[in-house]
């Protein structure tokens, strides 16, 4: 893992400070967008120098220093998560990923230091960062999260696992206005991952105290609270507060216009089918010429009601940026319309270890099926029976990589043999293995289980991200040669949410994200039974056993317990070499045992960009691990 090759423990990492040129620091004045200059002249806004922190982050533009202006038009079909709106107005985290998708850079924090024993983290926040309403951002905003939200039993009945290594909730102390100390019960080097990626849809570890105080019973009067509850149509105080507090939420859950943010754009209006953002006048980043970012004035997110409408808007040239809903299947369509829609189609490599990850339920309720599934020969045969080249050609224009489910090559835990395990197409060997297991063929060519019933597997899947249905159909066809009958059924997300954790599935599929160094160490859910969620149907009972501390579910076998131990080491060890070895051991176990079966991965993802939208890198790592566009620095996109 790359949290500092020099040993992540002892070194004081000073991120981007080196980029902050002295010429900018010493009295040099900054520049701002014309629309803000007008507001400054009208006395509605302090001058740009007063709005920016002492040492704003300096971002090196991808192509060139841009010019101000323009409206970015994007679309979403799920206003709850804002999709492309969030990809442009991306998360602002305490620390962040760099352009290579690996290095950690300073963001809201300028320095972070983990003690020798890995139990104490000291965080230094950037001085002078302001919320979009001009109020300073400081340690109180993190303390508010900790003391008034996390420690409040009504708001947080179950304490967050990621902040409780060893089962004890972190203790956070404010040293001064910009310095905080986190104390953990156990060594917790993984905390850096959470500083970088904890700012998900619901998470977030800082909240604008000055704004939320009037909704919190600790600070507000009873009447104020009751009034807010009544106005919003809420039932309880907790409901009202949690809804109001959902600020960092989402790359862009459309908050109300008055809610402060530290992102590049703030909501100014919501209409029936649009959410409109304007630049945040207090945004705390500048380019190399001292221009305050973002370059773009406005962001308009149109809410569509159907995914196909997105493609229509793209080929009609009515969006300036689109990535969330694009698919490689439609690549020819985009290409064909490049000129009349005035767009460029970029292909960004994605960070999925597998576009289609096959999960047989190893804790199946039926003992006969369970015994077959738990036999490594069976899983190996199924893997050898997949013609990955054909799959690659059919669905990914040959641009993806046939590989086993494992981390991406750039990972510190990667070994080539992990990716090559059982990936060759060898139906003969597959059939030999199945014969050896004693699964004889019936009269119709389908193999029979030991109890005499035909060997049929039902694959249930939900439509998300990758073309799962058609890919499964291909797998079914290829497994026919093995005498394994695969039935396919599309189910709704709701059914998936109850059936997978309920141990009711034979098999499901997902795309193997969380396979980079950013998220793999924290969530190796495809190979370690650590997450009892709806994506996981490969070991629901073992995972349940783990997350309930053995109160429910089923005790996993020895090798699974070893996986959990290795993961514990990976999470808590402060010895870099030991951590890498632990991570590799987890993946070696996957490569020999095929807990889940990978197909093809690392496919390119089409990104649509208006021709005159500049500073968009030709290649950038795309996926949840990188918050999709974080390594591309969307705040420095501009219209030429």
């Amino acid at each position: 893992m790359r949290f500092g090759k020099s040993g992540l423990v002892q070194v004081l990492l000073i991120g981007i400070l080196t980029l902050t040129f002295s010429s900018l620091c010493l009295g040099a004045s900054y520049y701002e967008a014309p629309m803000l200059t007008e507001m400054v002249k009208a006395g509605k806004l302090p001058s740009v120098d007063e709005r920016l922190p002492k040492e704003p982050i300096v971002i090196t533009p991808v192509e060139m220093v841009g010019s101000y202006g323009g409206t970015m038009r994007v679309v979403t079909v799920r206003p709850q998560i804002m999709e492309d709106g969030g990809l442009i107005n991306n998360h602002e985290t305490i620390i962040r990923l760099g352009a290579d998708g690996k290095t950690i850079e300073a963001n809201l924090a300028t320095a972070w230091e983990l003690s020798e024993d890995g139990k104490t983290l000291t965080l230094r926040l950037r001085e002078g960062v302001r919320w979009s309403d001009g109020h300073p951002f400081d340690a109180d905003d993190i303390m508010f999260w900790y003391e008034d939200i996390v420690l409040d039993d009504e708001l947080t009945p179950v304490k967050p696992r990621v902040w409780s290594p060893g089962g004890y909730l972190v203790e956070i102390e404010k040293l001064d206005d910009y310095t905080l100390e986190f104390n953990f019960a156990e060594p917790y080097p993984l905390v850096l991952t959470h500083l970088m990626h904890s700012n998900g849809y619901e998470g977030g570890m800082f909240y604008p105290k000055h704004y939320l105080m009037k909704y919190h019973y600790k600070y507000a009067s009873e009447e104020e609270i009751q009034q807010a509850i009544a106005e919003g149509g809420f039932e309880t105080w907790a409901q009202m507060f949690l809804a109001k507090a959902q600020i960092n939420a989402g790359s862009g859950r459309a908050v109300e216009p008055e809610t402060p943010t530290v992102k590049p754009f703030k909501v100014v209006a919501k209409t029936l089918d649009k959410v409109i953002y304007e630049r945040n006048p207090y945004y705390w980043k500048v380019d190399t010429a001292g221009n305050q970012l973002p370059y773009i004035d406005r962001l308009e997110v149109e809410i569509l009601k159907d995914q196909e409408m997105v493609n229509l808007k793209i080929v009609a040239g009515e969006v300036d940026f689109a990535a969330f809903n694009t698919t490689l299947e439609n690549y020819p369509l985009y290409k064909e319309n490049e000129d009349n829609a005035n767009i460029r189609v970029l292909l960004w490599p994605d960070v999925f270890g597998a576009e289609l990850l096959i999960m047989l339920n190893l804790t199946h309720q039926n003992p006969v099926i369970r015994e077959i599934f738990q036999d490594i020969r069976f899983r190996a045969a199924l893997s050898l029976g997949i013609n990955r080249e054909e799959m690659n050609e059919l669905f990914f224009l040959g641009l993806a990589e046939p590989r086993q489910a494992t981390v991406v090559p750039a990972s510190a835990f990667y070994e080539e043999e992990f990716a090559n395990a059982y990936v060759e197409y060898d139906p003969d060997e597959a059939n030999r293995l199945l014969d050896e297991m004693g699964l004889n063929r019936g009269s119709d060519g389908v193999r029979l289980r030991p109890d005499g019933k035909p060997l049929e597997i039902l694959a249930e899947y939900t439509v998300v991200d990758t073309p799962r249905g058609p890919m499964l159909e291909l797998v079914a066809e290829q497994w026919q040669v093995l005498g394994v009958k695969l039935n396919i059924k599309e189910i709704s997300g709701d059914l998936q949410t109850t059936r997978a954790p309920g141990n009711q599935m034979d098999m499901t599929v997902w795309n193997a994200d969380k396979m980079t160094d950013v998220l793999f160490p924290a969530t190796p859910m495809w190979v370690v039974p650590m997450a009892h969620g709806w994506e996981n149907s490969w070991c629901p009972l073992w995972a349940q056993w783990y997350v309930t501390d053995g109160k429910a579910g089923e005790e996993p076998p020895e090798e699974m317990k070893l996986q959990l131990e290795r993961w514990e080491l990976l999470k808590t060890s402060v010895d870099e070499a030991a951590r890498v070895e632990a991570g590799k051991a987890i993946l070696r176990s996957q490569a020999t045992n095929l807990w889940t079966i990978g197909t093809v991965g690392l496919a390119p993802h089409p990104v649509i960009v208006r021709k005159n939208l500049r500073n968009v890198p030709d290649e950038s790592l795309y996926g949840w691990d990188t918050f999709w566009t974080q390594p591309a620095y969307p705040e420095q996109f501009f219209f030429d």
Partner: protein, 327 residues
């Protein structure tokens, strides 16, 4: 008449309460609740949802209570005109529905008027000029209209607009007016945008109504009373309007009731395709994600309108058709 209406109004109350209860239960019948579908959304983007988050969310949405408790809480607020919070949109239901409902009524009313004017004129012409070239032409057009699903028509129109005019149809306002407050210019802009949805949504209805009017009128035109009137020398046009048309209009009157609920849920798929900010897609989305209070409110509206519409139809029919008695 007054007692008839009064009795019917009284009966509406228990009907509505029953409907609200049944619909609330039905909304909750599918496995899981709003939370599961919300978690689905989060997971789709890669987020791992842990127990802490689920517990907090349950608290936030009040989903840790049994359904009857949820129903009771909701109903006791509905009585006060407060329809609760939409989980999905995180806004009070009240805020969400009124503007959409207004637009929906505008579209539906325009469509209804369009349908009636066109179908009445053509139906009248077809019946009085049976088997003429014009009749065949409109019959052909009518069957085409009946056979083409409106969303398909919408898709075809959109494709033509895109292919030949390079613009995407959809929405109800030009970008300039989308955020503007209501004004005369905005209304004009809305009317301009209403044409396509009106034609698309109205096509099938128009075709159907043409056929109904034509068939009914043809039936009546042969009746002895028409011939009597004709022999008495009543001018042809006045004759047809005064007697047979009145009878032929009865089916229109009896369907008025049904068009009221259609105002809310009408042509959902077309609205999805045309990207109209109306209540149809809102209801669809709410049902999909089990956003109970929003879905419940919309279903309540639907059923109230159906009940009300039926009453309206009955009154209209009683007035139009002298054969109907009140007991």
């Amino acid at each position: 008449m007054a007692t008839f209406v009064g009795k019917r109004l009284l009966l509406m109350l228990p009907t509505l309460i029953l409907i609200s209860l049944v619909s609330f239960v039905i909304i909750q019948l599918p496995p899981g609740d709003f939370l599961t579908s919300y978690i689905t959304q989060l997971s789709q983007s890669g987020e791992v949802v842990d127990e802490a988050m689920i517990a907090a969310l349950q608290k936030r949405y009040g989903l840790d209570r049994p359904w009857y408790a949820q129903y009771w809480l909701w109903m006791s607020r509905v009585v006060r005109g407060d329809f609760g919070q939409s989980f999905e949109w995180e806004q009070p239901v009240n805020q969400l529905i009124w503007e959409r409902l207004g637009l929906t009524v505008a579209i539906s009313a325009a469509t209804l008027v369009f349908t009636w004017i066109v179908s009445f004129t053509i139906g009248f012409y077809s019946a009085t000029h049976q088997y003429s070239i014009g009749d065949y032409f409109f019959t052909f057009l009518g069957f085409m209209g009946l056979a083409t699903p409106s969303f398909l028509l919408a898709l075809v129109l959109m494709w033509i607009a895109l292919r030949y005019f390079g613009l995407s149809v959809g929405g109800l306002f030009s970008p300039d007016y989308a955020q503007a407050p209501w004004s005369f210019a905005k209304c004009v802009d809305l009317i301009k945008h209403l044409a396509i949805p009106m034609v698309v949504i109205g096509a099938a209805g128009t075709a159907g109504s043409i056929r109904i009017l034509r068939a009914n009128l043809l039936d009546e035109l042969q009746k002895p009373y028409v011939q009597t009137a004709r022999t008495k020398g009543v001018p042809e046009f006045r004759l047809i309007l005064k007697y047979p048309v009145r009878i032929a209009l009865i089916p229109f009157a009896s369907t008025v009731g049904w068009s009221l609920p259609l105002l809310v849920s009408g042509e959902t798929i077309t609205a999805v395709v045309l990207n109209l900010p109306t209540t149809g897609p809102l209801l669809l989305g709410a049902l999909r994600s089990q956003d109970m209070y929003l879905a419940g409110t919309l279903v309540m509206f639907l059923s109230s309108l159906t009940v009300l519409g039926t009453l309206l139809s009955d009154i209209l029919l009683a007035w139009l058709d002298p054969r109907i008695r009140y007991d």
